[in-house]
C-alpha cells in the first residue's frame, strides 16, 4: 500500500474533479449536473484523505473534513432533488435551460 506515490492519488482526484466540472458545464439534465457536483466533492474528499495520510499520518483532521463533506453532500443532494422535483412540477421538464426565466 505504502509504495503508491501521492502523485497517483492526486492524479485520480484531479481527473475526477475535471470530469465533474465537464459534466457540470455541458449536461442539461439537472440530475446529471447534481451527479457531477458529487464527483467534484468526492475528488476533494480523496485529496483530503490522501494529504492527511501522507503529510500528517498521526492526525485525523483531514478525515473529519471528509466525513463532514459527505454529510453535507447528502443534505445538499436532498435539497437539490427537492428543487428539481418542484421545477419538474411547474415546467414538466428537468432541463436546466427551462429554468432560465427564473432570472427575472
Amino acid at each position: 500500500m505504502s509504495d503508491i506515490p501521492i502523485s497517483h492519488i492526486l492524479f485520480v482526484s484531479t481527473a475526477l474533479f475535471f470530469i465533474g466540472m465537464y459534466g457540470l458545464f455541458t449536461r442539461r439534465n439537472m440530475i446529471t449536473m447534481l451527479m457531477s457536483v458529487e464527483l467534484i466533492l468526492n475528488s476533494v474528499n480523496i485529496n483530503f484523505v490522501a494529504f492527511n495520510k501522507y503529510l500528517y499520518p498521526d492526525k485525523l483532521d483531514g478525515i473529519f473534513f471528509t466525513i463532514f463533506i459527505i454529510t453535507i453532500a447528502a443534505a445538499e443532494a436532498a435539497i437539490a432533488i427537492a428543487i428539481i422535483i418542484n421545477l419538474y412540477r411547474s415546467h414538466r421538464s428537468i432541463d436546466v435551460e427551462t429554468a432560465e426565466e427564473m432570472k427575472w
Binding site: F25, E97, E100, E101
Partner: protein, 639 residues
C-alpha cells in the same frame, strides 16, 4: 409728538384685506369682499387724513422747518454696527402727502370698482390684489430705508403684474403683464446696483443717515472714486434713476405702460395713472438732497423728463384707443414732474421745481384718476375702447360728461382748475432755470390741451352713436368717486403747496404772477380751440390734416417705432446673438452631458445584461473562471 403705532395700521389694514380676501374671498366672502376691502381702506384713509392734519397743522413743524419723524422702527436684519436693514415708517412732508394721495385715490378706485367689477367671476381676487397693491405702495412711501423701498418697490411691481394680467384668459393681457414685469424688472436691476453703490459709499442703508454721510465728509471719497470719469455718486444716482424711470414709464423704458391698459380700467386709474407710476418721481424726490450734489444726474433726469413729456404728448395725439391716449398723457405728465425735479435746486427759492413737481404729482393723481374712471364709465357703457365706436355720448352720460370736462380742463391747465396751478409752477421753475426746457414744456402743454380735448370731443360730441342698451352711467358707487374726484380736481390747486412741501422742508413762498401765466393759458386755449375746430362736429378735417402730415403722422401713430426697435433688439440681436448660443450650449453641452451619462449607462448596462442570462451553467463557468484567475494571481503574480 405722539405718532404711535397707529400709523403702522395705515399700510397694514390693506394687507389684512389682501390676506383675508385672498384666503377666504372666493369661497366664503364672494359677495361681501368688495365691502370688506373698501371698508378697511376707508379706515386707512381716515387715519392718513388724520395723520396729515396732525403733521401739517398741529405738531409737524418746529420753528419754520418740518421735522422728519420716525414713527416706527424695527431692525429686521442687522449685518454690522452700521449696516442693518430696518423696517420703519418715517413721516416727512412728502411721505405724508403720498399717504393721503395713495389712500384717497385707492379708496375712490375701490368704491368705483364695487360697481364696475360687479358680477366678475374673480371679484374677491380683484379686491385682494387691490389691497396688496395699496399695502405695497403705502409701505413704499413711508419707507425709512433704501432696502425697504426696494422690497416694496418689487411688491408694487408684482401687484401691478397681477392686476394687468387680471383677465388672464386674454392673450394680450397676459403678454402685457409679462412685458410690464420684464421691463420694470430690467430697470430695477439698475435700482438695485444703485442702492448697493450708495450703501457702499454711504455706509448705511437708512436714507437719512445715508444723505448725511454722503453730503458731508464722505463726499470727497465718493467723488474721487470714479468709473469712466464719472463719480461713483453719479453712477449710483443714475442707476437708481433708471429704476425710477422704469417704474414711471419714462422714455425709453415706457413701452410697458400703454400695453398695461389691458388691465381693468379702475386698475389703470389707480396704478398706471395716479400712484404706482409716480413712484419714480417719489424716489427721486426722496433722494433729492443727494441728486443736488450731483448735477450730472439731475441733468439726466431733466433730459429724460423732457423727452418723455414731449414724445408722449405727440403720440397721444394720434392714438385711437381712449385708454392708450390717457396712458400716453400720463407718461407726458410724469415727464413734467421729472424735469421739474431736474431743474430744481436745493434750498430756498431754487426749490420751486421740487415743490412744483410734487404739487403736480398731487393734483395729477386726482384729475388723471378721474379721467380714467370716466373712461371706465364710457367703456362700461359702450363695451369698446376705440374712439370710432364713440361719439355724442353727452346725452347718455351727463355726469360723466361734466366730470370728464373738468378733468380735461384741469390737465390742460386752464384756471382755476387744479392742473393750472401745478403746471404753472413747473413752467416757472423751468423758465428760471433753462429756456429750452421751458420751450418744450410750453409746447407740450399746448399739445396736452389738444389731445385731451380731441378725446373729449370724440367721446362726448362728434358723430351720434347708436346706443342700444340704455343701462345709464352705472350704479351710484360709480358716480360718487367721479363727483368727489371732480371736486378735488377743481379745488386741489388752491392749496398753498409750497408751504408744506419743499426740498429743505421750510416754507416756500409761492408767488403767483398773472403775467407769466398768460403764455401757458393762451397756448392751452389754442390747443382746445384747434381740437374744437377739428373734432366737435364730424368733419373730414382730421383726415385732411393727418393726410397732409404724412410720414410724421404715421410715425407718431406707430409710436415712433420704439416698440419695433425693442422688438428688433430683442428678437434679432439679443435672441440671435445671446439667446441662440445660450440655447445651443444648453441643448448640446449641458443636456448633452446629461444625455451622454445616461447613454453610457444604458450601453454598459446592455452589455452587462448579457452576462446575467439565467443560464446556471454560464454562471458556474464565470465562477470557475474567477477562481482560476484568483488562483493564478495569488500563486504566480502576487509576489
Amino acid at each position: 409728538m405722539s405718532y404711535s403705532s397707529y400709523i403702522a395700521l395705515i399700510p397694514l389694514l390693506p394687507l389684512a384685506g389682501f390676506v383675508l380676501l385672498g384666503l377666504f374671498g372666493r369661497k366664503y366672502l364672494k359677495h361681501s369682499s368688495g365691502i370688506i376691502g373698501t371698508g378697511l381702506l376707508l379706515v386707512s384713509t381716515v387715519l392718513s387724513l388724520y395723520t396729515a392734519y396732525k403733521y401739517f397743522f398741529v405738531d409737524g413743524r418746529i420753528g419754520d422747518t418740518y421735522q422728519t419723524i420716525t414713527a416706527v422702527k424695527y431692525t429686521w436684519l442687522s449685518f454690522s454696527e452700521n449696516v442693518s436693514i430696518d423696517m420703519g415708517i418715517i413721516l416727512d412732508p412728502i411721505s405724508v402727502m403720498m399717504l393721503v394721495v395713495v389712500t384717497f385715490v385707492s379708496l375712490m378706485v375701490h368704491i368705483f370698482s364695487l360697481g364696475y367689477m360687479k358680477g366678475e367671476e374673480r371679484f374677491a381676487t380683484y379686491f385682494a390684489f387691490l389691497g396688496l397693491f395699496t399695502f405695497s405702495m403705502l409701505g413704499l412711501v413711508v419707507s425709512s430705508n433704501l432696502f425697504q423701498i426696494y422690497m416694496f418697490w418689487e411688491l408694487v411691481g408684482v401687484s401691478s403684474y397681477l392686476l394687468i394680467g387680471y383677465y388672464y384668459d386674454k392673450p394680450s393681457a397676459v403678454a402685457a403683464s409679462k412685458k410690464a414685469f420684464v421691463v420694470t424688472r430690467f430697470a430695477d436691476l439698475g435700482f438695485l446696483i444703485g442702492i448697493l453703490i450708495l450703501a457702499f459709499y454711504g455706509k448705511s442703508l437708512d436714507i437719512n443717515t445715508l444723505i448725511a454721510n454722503l453730503s458731508s465728509s464722505e463726499l470727497i471719497a465718493v467723488t474721487t472714486a470714479s468709473l469712466f470719469g464719472i463719480s461713483a455718486l453719479t453712477w449710483g444716482l443714475t442707476l437708481i434713476f433708471i429704476g425710477g424711470a422704469g417704474k414711471s414709464a419714462m422714455f425709453p423704458l415706457h413701452i410697458w405702460l400703454p400695453d398695461a391698459m389691458e388691465g381693468p380700467t379702475p386698475v389703470s386709474a389707480l396704478i398706471h395713472a395716479a400712484t404706482m407710476v409716480v413712484a419714480g418721481v417719489y424716489l427721486v424726490a426722496r433722494l433729492f438732497p443727494l441728486y443736488t450734489i450731483s448735477p450730472v444726474s439731475l441733468d439726466i433726469v431733466t433730459v429724460v423728463g423732457v423727452v418723455s413729456a414731449f414724445l408722449a404728448a405727440i403720440i397721444a395725439c394720434t392714438q385711437t384707443d381712449i385708454k392708450r391716449v390717457l396712458a400716453y398723457s400720463t407718461m407726458s405728465q410724469i415727464g413734467y414732474m421729472m424735469f421739474a425735479l431736474g431743474v430744481s435746486g436745493y434750498g430756498g427759492e431754487n426749490g420751486l421745481g421740487y415743490t412744483a413737481s410734487l404739487f403736480h404729482l398731487f393734483t395729477h393723481a386726482f384729475f388723471k384718476s378721474l379721467l380714467f374712471l370716466g373712461a371706465g364709465v364710457v367703456i362700461h357703457f359702450i363695451h369698446s375702447n376705440e374712439i370710432k365706436d364713440m361719439g355724442g355720448l353727452r346725452k347718455y352720460l351727463p355726469i360723466t360728461n361734466l366730470c370728464f370736462l373738468i378733468a380735461c380742463l384741469a390737465i390742460a391747465g386752464i384756471p382755476p382748475f387744479a392742473g393750472f396751478f401745478s403746471k404753472e409752477e413747473i413752467l416757472l421753475a423751468a423758465y428760471n432755470s433753462n429756456k429750452i426746457v421751458y420751450g418744450f414744456a410750453l409746447f407740450t402743454s399746448g399739445l396736452t390741451a389738444f389731445y385731451m380735448f380731441r378725446l373729449y370731443y370724440s367721446i362726448f360730441w362728434n358723430k351720434q352713436t347708436e346706443v342700444h342698451d340704455h343701462h345709464g352711467e352705472g350704479p351710484f358707487s360709480m358716480k360718487l368717486p367721479l363727483i368727489i374726484l371732480s371736486l378735488c380736481s377743481i379745488f386741489a390747486g388752491l392749496i398753498h403747496f409750497g408751504e408744506y412741501v419743499s426740498p429743505d422742508k421750510r416754507m416756500l413762498e409761492s408767488h403767483f404772477d398773472p403775467l407769466f401765466s398768460i403764455a401757458p393759458v393762451v397756448i392751452g386755449l389754442l390747443g382746445i380751440f384747434i381740437a374744437t375746430w377739428m373734432y366737435r362736429k364730424p368733419t373730414d378735417r382730421p383726415q385732411r390734416i393727418s393726410g397732409s402730415l404724412g410720414a410724421l403722422y404715421r410715425t407718431a401713430y406707430r409710436k415712433f417705432y420704439i416698440d419695433e426697435v425693442y422688438l428688433f433688439i430683442t428678437r434679432k440681436i439679443i435672441f440671435n446673438l445671446i439667446g441662440r448660443p445660450a440655447a445651443w450650449v444648453d441643448r448640446n453641452i449641458v443636456d448633452g452631458l446629461m444625455n451622454g451619462i445616461a447613454n453610457a449607462t444604458a450601453t454598459i448596462a446592455a452589455w452587462i445584461k448579457g452576462i446575467q442570462s439565467g443560464k446556471v451553467q454560464s454562471y458556474a463557468i464565470y465562477f470557475f473562471g474567477g477562481i482560476v484567475a484568483i488562483t493564478i494571481v495569488f500563486l504566480y503574480l502576487w509576489k
